[in-house]
């Protein structure tokens, strides 16, 4: 008896799964979807970027939606698969995305992104203190990067470490972790779980302002030289799909963003024009570190 019900349920299951999957293809209206890399404060992502979506909807006259993603790779994947047509990428993720979708372009960057930098931070028990030159004392300590695909939490710090010692972080440190995001790097170094870490300077400053950092436990010991970081990238083919000149319209809307409430979400003081060539240095660094195929 129960055997019969079992077989019956199997039959229903298989047929209904097939119909459900085939019926899942939904026709969509013309909607522009954007995403942003989850570099910090993930629980607030939707709240932060929904306002930006509303702003773009009014400016562009097209429904603009925001979808949250869980990782840098997922953001790039969504861009590649045309699930999103516009994205707020980091330096490395932007380069990767534009390589995967040829013809895509960087259209705007934050004013601060021209002179971006990473902080090296250390737990007080290491005895390391702030210096202008590269902190030699970090060798042999435990070290955490941020996300594996982060520019400020991985690519540039690793570049400067390798440049200094000509060795990989794994050879140099007694343990190398990847915390996953910048806020987590700070809290893990603050708790002493890792002795040293590399973090996006903007995230450090906003967490400091929010009173989430105990400076008797963790402090900045070095800042990297400046590099170019985050940017808005628009997908190839939007002009075809949304009407000629659409990407310029998006660019103009981004450059005209003045509302401090909106800019605070990034956090940037304003947006300026950007182009793919601005990220050539990042691209070469990524290739040198084998984080990108030439």
């Amino acid at each position: 008896m129960s055997c019969k019900t079992f077989c019956l349920s199997l039959l229903i299951l298989v047929t209904s799964y097939c119909t459900a999957v085939s019926g899942a293809v939904v026709a969509t209206d013309k909607v522009l979807t954007f995403t942003a890399i989850p570099d910090q404060d993930q629980s607030q992502l939707r709240m932060r970027f929904q306002q930006v979506a509303d702003y773009l909807t009014t400016e562009l006259g097209v429904q603009v939606n925001y979808i949250p993603v869980k990782s840098y790779a997922a953001a790039i994947g969504a861009f590649r698969n045309n699930q999103v047509q516009l994205a707020w990428f980091g330096g490395l993720s932007g380069v990767r995305a534009r390589q995967l979708v040829p013809g895509s372009r960087a259209i705007a960057q934050g004013i601060e992104d021209r002179q971006f930098k990473s902080y090296f931070i250390a737990h007080h028990s290491t005895g390391l203190s702030a210096s202008d030159s590269f902190p030699q004392g970090i060798a042999g300590k435990t070290f955490t990067f941020g996300s594996k695909g982060s520019t400020s939490g991985r690519l540039m710090p690793e570049y400067y470490i390798r440049e200094q010692w000509q060795r990989s972080p794994q050879q140099l440190f007694s343990a190398v972790g990847f915390s996953g995001d910048h806020s987590l790097t700070i809290s893990q170094v603050q708790a002493g779980a890792y002795q040293v870490g590399a973090v996006n300077y903007q995230v450090w400053q906003s967490m400091l302002a929010a009173g989430k950092i105990d400076q008797s436990k963790v402090s900045v010991i070095w800042q990297t030289p400046q590099y170019t970081d985050y940017q808005w990238t628009i997908r190839a083919g939007v002009d075809r799909d949304y009407g000629a000149g659409f990407s310029d319209k998006v660019q103009a809307a981004l450059l005209q963003m003045r509302d401090p409430q909106l800019l605070k979400q990034f956090p940037r003081s304003g947006f300026i024009r950007a182009e793919n060539a601005d990220y050539q240095a990042i691209k070469e660094t990524a290739i040198a570190l084998d984080l990108l195929q030439p």
């Binding site: 199997l10 209904s16 899942a24 629980s43 969504a78 435990t142 708790a191």
Partner: protein
């Protein structure tokens, strides 16, 4: 006389094997990084504990949706897996089927999810397939094991010998159905846990918000999510009835999240024709031989740089975790047996097991990282807690069965001389079965900086290097096939003899 001598020799074998296991774990710990780094976790831990014990939730509707999707994916995924596993189990004698099952089982659900995400995006199909494929292979193996132990064999019913299917339907199935049903129920619980973990890579299950809450230090929310998750798992036994499955599945299918992802055929083609091949063989003017050579070169350098070191640390970590799991189980077993006497203490024990087996390892590792610093040690402990919780939970039933046949309460000496010898063969066989799972679970502990194969695979996915990811997944799967063969041999060696001894009693 015969029984006695064979019994003692099995006992000896089991003892030696256990000692060997622990010795191997200790030996591995010499070569592995198990250093404790002094840290000051107390301030952070206090905040964490305060948060976890004062659960609060701002958006109960979201929680309900998360729980619903977690259950839906698990229900559909496990049911599909049961069907496929049932069919595969009939062919499991075939070496190719067994090989394929061990191969596909070896790949962690998270990696299946990451693979299918390239094809179907963040959709219900991704979640369901990520559960269904490895689970189908597990079902195949376990159902096959169950048939092996069916008491009535073919030769007693010669008229059915010519039709394998009738033999299955009329001889095997009626005998093993209760066991299969109970396994299905257990597997469903695993499915719910897996489904939750899939949230870590962005699928809309409870893990999505759980991971975020832990990352952001929002421990009150994390506490609420964990509590809800534990309650969900604890409640399964009250509402999961096989005859209600069609209703549940119908509801789950009806409310599955829709996806705007439409161009999946292009993606599938692109994935297999472009993504999984390294750039070195994509230049146009290469002959097949040159391509093969280039691929070989690329593969061997990948193996040398990531594959072999990754395999080394994976094996070290697994050996240590296995030994720690064994020790923890042996410590837990008497406690749980003695606890059974009293209702209240017993429920406390059950709750402990529930928490141990249901808390995702990622979260255990996260907490242990704060306490112990980055090394293999937090990974070993996290894996040991999770797996010993599971094994003890499974052994519970046998302890209960042993108890009803003897007296109401068990003393410590009863435990040592009656319960433990009875259980031990089963325990070792469960442990061997978990060995395979420990091997692949080491994949999700990259936050600890332990460079297992899983760490490199995760990095490859993060770098969008699917060529590397696939090659390393292949290596992981092959490693698992070897381990599976070994553990099968060991299981045959112990459990069959164990069973023979018992059935002679």
């Amino acid at each position: 006389m015969n029984t006695l001598s064979s019994g003692s020799s099995v006992g000896l074998k089991l003892r030696n094997f256990s000692l060997l296991l622990v010795a191997a774990g200790l030996l591995a710990s010499i070569f592995a990084d198990v250093q404790i780094y002094a840290s000051e976790p107390w301030a952070h831990l206090r905040i964490m504990l305060q948060g976890l014990f004062s659960p609060s939730i701002s958006d109960p509707q979201q929680l309900a949706i998360d729980l619903f999707y977690t259950l839906s994916f698990a229900l559909i995924g496990v049911s599909l897996a049961a069907v496929a596993g049932l069919l595969l189990s009939l062919l499991y004698q075939h070496p190719l089927v067994r090989f394929c099952c061990a191969f596909f089982r070896a790949i962690h659900e998270l990696f299946w999810a990451l693979l299918f995400m390239q094809l179907f995006g963040l959709s219900a199909s991704t979640a369901i397939l990520a559960i269904a494929i490895p689970y189908a292979c597990t079902f195949a193996r376990v159902f096959h094991d169950i048939y092996q132990h069916a008491p009535i064999k073919l030769r007693q019913l010669p008229e059915l010998a010519d039709s394998k299917f009738s033999h299955f339907l009329y001889v095997l199935l009626p005998q093993v159905w209760p066991q299969m049903r109970s396994y299905l129920r257990y597997r469903f619980e695993c499915g719910v846990r897996t489904s939750a973990v899939l949230g870590f890579v962005g699928l809309p299950t409870i893990g999505f918000h759980l991971e975020t809450a832990f990352k952001q230090g929002d421990y009150s929310y994390a506490g609420a999510l964990l509590l809800a998750f534990f309650l969900l798992i604890a409640s399964i036994k009250y509402w999961l009835k096989v005859y209600l499955l069609p209703v549940y599945i119908g509801i789950a299918l009806w409310f599955l999240p829709g996806s705007e992802f439409t161009n999946s055929s292009d993606n599938i083609w692109r994935f297999f024709s472009v993504d999984i091949w390294p750039a070195v063989i994509k230049t146009a003017d290469q002959s097949i031989v040159e391509k093969l050579l280039a691929y070989g070169q690329w593969l061997s350098s990948l193996l040398l740089q990531q594959g072999l070191p990754g395999m080394g640390s994976t094996l070290l970590l697994s050996l240590m975790a296995l030994a720690a799991t064994a020790v923890l189980c042996v410590l837990l077993a008497p406690l749980l047996t003695l606890m059974r006497g009293q209702w209240l203490v017993n429920s406390a024990g059950q709750c402990l097991l529930l928490v141990m087996r249901s808390t995702p390892e990622y979260i255990l590792a996260f907490v242990l990282l704060l306490l112990l610093g980055p090394s293999m040690l937090p990974a070993v402990i996290a894996l040991a807690i999770h797996n010993s919780g599971l094994i003890s939970f499974l052994l519970q039933r046998d302890i209960a069965a042993a108890q009803t046949s003897t007296t109401a309460s068990v003393s410590f000496s009863d435990f040592l001389y009656k319960v433990m010898p009875d259980l031990y063969a089963k325990f070792i066989s469960l442990l061997m079965y978990r060995a395979e799972i420990i091997l692949r679970e080491s994949a999700i502990l990259g936050v600890l900086g332990v460079t297992t194969l899983g760490f490199y695979i995760d990095s490859a996915f993060e770098d969008l290097r699917f060529d590397r990811a696939l090659a390393l997944l292949f290596l992981t799967a092959l490693l698992n096939v070897v381990v599976d063969q070994l553990s099968r041999k060991l299981q045959l060696c112990f459990s069959d003899q164990g069973i023979r001894v018992r059935s002679k009693d």
